[in-house]
Amino acid sequence: MIRLDDVHKAFGPKRVLQGLSLDVARGESCVIIGGSGTGKSVCLKCVLGLVTPDSGLITVDGQDVQSGDRDAFLARFGMLFQGGALFDSLPVWQNVAFRLQRGPQKRPKAEAREIAIEKLRRVGLKPDVADLFPSELSGGMQKRVGLARAIAAEPEIIFFDEPTTGLDPIMSGVINDLIREIVTEMGATALTITHDMRSVRAIADKVAMLHEGVIRWHGPVAEIDTADDPYLRQFVTGAAKGPIAAVR
């Protein structure tokens, strides 16, 4: 469904993606792991067209992401951003229903609000949160609202960018479980980037490890503890010594 083929991207002299190739099948939950600054976020942004690759091809269902109707293309996606990226000037329910209040998926205001409250309930938030502003919420609640926004229009593909960063272990577990449940229940294709191994085990069907701009290893989540790739080994165990330099 999602195919990245020999994708390169550099920012000035810094070569971030150096021939990244990856396939994510329909309905699959793929997690990309890797150290900080290895290009995980750039990879997601390339698929969404937020960053244009220097070379290589990215397709979704065989269609080049750089061509065709952008709005129709993006309507298939939902995304949970690392910091939530909620709009400060809008109350929670309008954040969740943002896509349902404008464009081709526009609904009447009352219906959009009802869907937003339903999605908030789905991520474990009470309806009275709907009229608060994002600045009035805790980090965990903001993540949940971000998740509710990502699923509000029932997208086919959902991207999760570091979904548990900055959360305590209990809240991380809650978010991981929610993501797994929602992805399974919606039958959506999910692409997650994280370096939290608990998230990997909770969310992934398949894992891909990104290092120095290429996929170093990929395989089913069940194999990450037995695979003999030294890079993956070091990452999974969190050892300071190994082929991945501790100081980058």
Partner: protein, 261 residues
């Protein structure tokens, strides 16, 4: 590189950098203008920006005009008395305010208040990925964020200038009649008789141009803000400085065009 060439290289690099920014701002402004007439439209955003940019700038512009009008009357009276021309205070205050000081000071005050606020808001939205989030929600940030701000500033500033003109002239009137012993009715009659329609409309056109400049510079620097608090801070400073300089430059060009061409 020879040490002798280093200053030339520095000047060349700076010039090229400046030309690049001018080109980018021009393209950005052109794209924004091209989106004004193309749907989707965001009327609620426009109304909100009219309130933020126009209505909330009224006190700043009004107070600036009031004190400037008063000070101008005192200066013209003092200067005019050197060659027995104290009687021209109403006329010079009116023309000075309406043609120059109203639009320029109004523009500069709005630049300080609005360009900074726009750059800080959009810069923060950029560093917290809210702009990226808009794109993923099939919303063009240029249409949703930039166009309403540019429209609101271009509509608001002439209105603010008109209000500022009236308050500025009133400031001159107040000082002249209470401190300089001018007759109230004669002062008003001299002001009204002296002013021509073009004096007023030229100032309002300047106001619209300055409003456009303020919003474009605020949006451009906000959207291209660097990372972190320092990046947003720099974007805010650049927005105010560049908008102020461009207002003064545009004011000279418009004055040449309107009154000297």
């Amino acid at each position: 590189m020879s040490p002798l060439l280093i200053p030339f290289a520095t000047i060349g690099r700076s010039t090229l950098g400046m030309l690049r920014v001018i080109g980018q701002v021009t393209i950005y402004a052109g794209q924004a203008v091209s989106h004004i007439l193309r749907p989707p439209f965001y009327p609620r955003e426009l109304l909100w920006q009219l309130l933020q940019i126009g209505w909330l700038s009224l006190p700043v512009v009004g107070l600036t005009a009031l004190f400037t009008g008063g000070a101008l009357a005192l200066q013209i009276f003092a200067g005019g008395s050197r060659f027995n021309a104290e009687a021209v205070v109403p006329q010079i205050v009116a023309i000075g305010i309406v043609r120059e000081l109203g639009p320029v000071l109004g523009g500069l005050m709005v630049a300080g208040r609005v360009a900074a606020a726009i750059a800080a808001e959009l810069g923060t939205m950029k560093v917290t990925e809210q702009i990226d989030a808009l794109v993923t929600l099939s919303t063009n940030p240029l249409k949703y964020l930039t166009v309403p701000r540019i429209l609101a500033a271009t509509i608001s500033l002439p209105i603010l200038v008109a209000v500022g003109d009236a308050i500025g002239i009133f400031g001159g009137y107040l000082v002249s009649t209470t401190r300089l012993d001018f007759n109230e009715a004669a002062y008003l009659r001299n002001t009204v008789d002296f002013l021509e329609l073009w004096d007023i409309t030229s100032g309002l056109i300047k106001g619209a141009v300055f409003g456009f400049i303020v919003a474009v510079m605020g949006c451009y620097h906000g959207m291209n803000s660097g990372r972190g608090a320092q990046g947003v801070g720099r974007a805010t400073t650049n927005a105010v400085v560049s908008a102020s300089i461009m207002i003064l430059a545009a004011n000279y060009l418009l004055t040449e065009l309107f009154f000297n061409a």
